[in-house]
């Protein structure tokens, strides 16, 4: 993506990123003094290009986090303005998508902590390692022919997946979103969430199992599959 950009604005941006820690520093965290916006129309053109490329992905992540289109728009607007103000700290050659998502996570969790809209109830129930696969293998609920596990996946709708992900507690939802939807590495996710890599892995492990349970429940509720639904 970066390769497609004209060289002139690149140089302008690079010149501003003298501080090695600045790319993910105070500008991205949303706390501390707001740095001056980058000057020059060529920088604005470059930033507008980035908005065009990254906006949908960022909006989708915001939508999964906030679970509300209006709140997602507000969050994306806040993130893009923060990103614009600290754009001079962005290090060329690093991932703009990861940088924007770090700002997104900081902004979302800052406001989440302040508002405490949703009590963080972490489900400790054991869900088994391959919940959905095992459910499918039980087989009774499905047609007798073919592969039951393939049939389960064929019967789950895109909307079921989104609703199931949205139903997860926010810490698990964020981890699964960043890994399974956005494809970031454990290390990138750890930086975005400000937690150790081991915590990312355990949240992913738990989050994916909860997601599978939700998928099964949501599919059975809609009578797409016959099952106990619990």
């Amino acid at each position: 993506m970066e390769e497609a950009v004209a060289p002139e604005p690149t140089e302008v941006v690079r010149a501003g990123a003298a501080d090695p820690g600045a790319a993910l520093g105070s500008g991205a965290s949303g706390s501390g003094p707001v740095p001056a916006p980058p000057a020059g129309p060529e920088v604005r053109v470059r930033f507008e290009q980035l908005i065009a490329e990254e906006l949908n992905g960022l909006y989708r992540s915001a939508l999964r986090l906030t679970r509300n289109p209006t709140a997602a728009e507000d969050l994306v607007q806040e993130v893009m303005l923060k990103a614009w103000r600290s754009f001079h700290t962005f290090q060329e050659g690093t991932s703009i998508r990861a940088w924007l998502h770090r700002i997104l996570m900081n902004a979302f969790f800052d406001s989440y902590r302040k508002q405490a809209r949703e009590p963080e109830v972490l489900d400790q129930q054991d869900v088994g390692e391959f919940y959905l696969y095992d459910k499918a293998q039980e087989g009774e609920s499905l047609g007798e022919a073919g592969n039951p596990e393939v049939e389960v996946l064929d019967r789950i709708m895109d909307a079921d997946v989104r609703h199931s992900l949205d139903a997860l507690p926010v810490q698990y939802r964020a981890a699964v979103l960043l890994s399974d939807v956005q494809g970031f590495t454990y290390k990138e996710i750890a930086q975005m969430l400000g937690v150790p890599v081991g915590t990312v892995m355990s949240r992913l492990f738990r989050g994916r199992h909860l997601l599978q349970r939700q998928l099964w429940e949501s599919a059975t509720k809609r009578h797409l599959l016959k099952g106990d639904g619990r």
Partner: protein
């Protein structure tokens, strides 16, 4: 590598976070074990489905326009 070890590594394998040696070992096991291969294939398909399902929404055009105006103001 036995089935239990291979399934413990499966998530890291799907996340492309396993090193080359362990990846090779796991791949060899999956080639030989139909049961583990079936689980791995299922998890891979599920992963692809999650990604696809959450990749279709578009940001509203008004948001894009508003952002363009806002960054000109600031």
């Amino acid at each position: 590598m036995n089935c239990e070890e291979s399934m413990e590594m499966l998530w890291q394998f799907l996340d492309k976070e396993l090193d080359g040696g362990a990846t090779g070992e796991l791949q060899r096991h999956l080639e030989e074990c139909r049961h583990c291969f079936s689980k791995a294939e299922f998890e891979q398909r599920l992963r692809a489905m999650v990604r696809r399902s959450c990749s279709c929404e578009q940001a509203p055009p008004e948001l894009r326009e508003r952002l363009s105006k806002l960054i000109r103001l600031f």
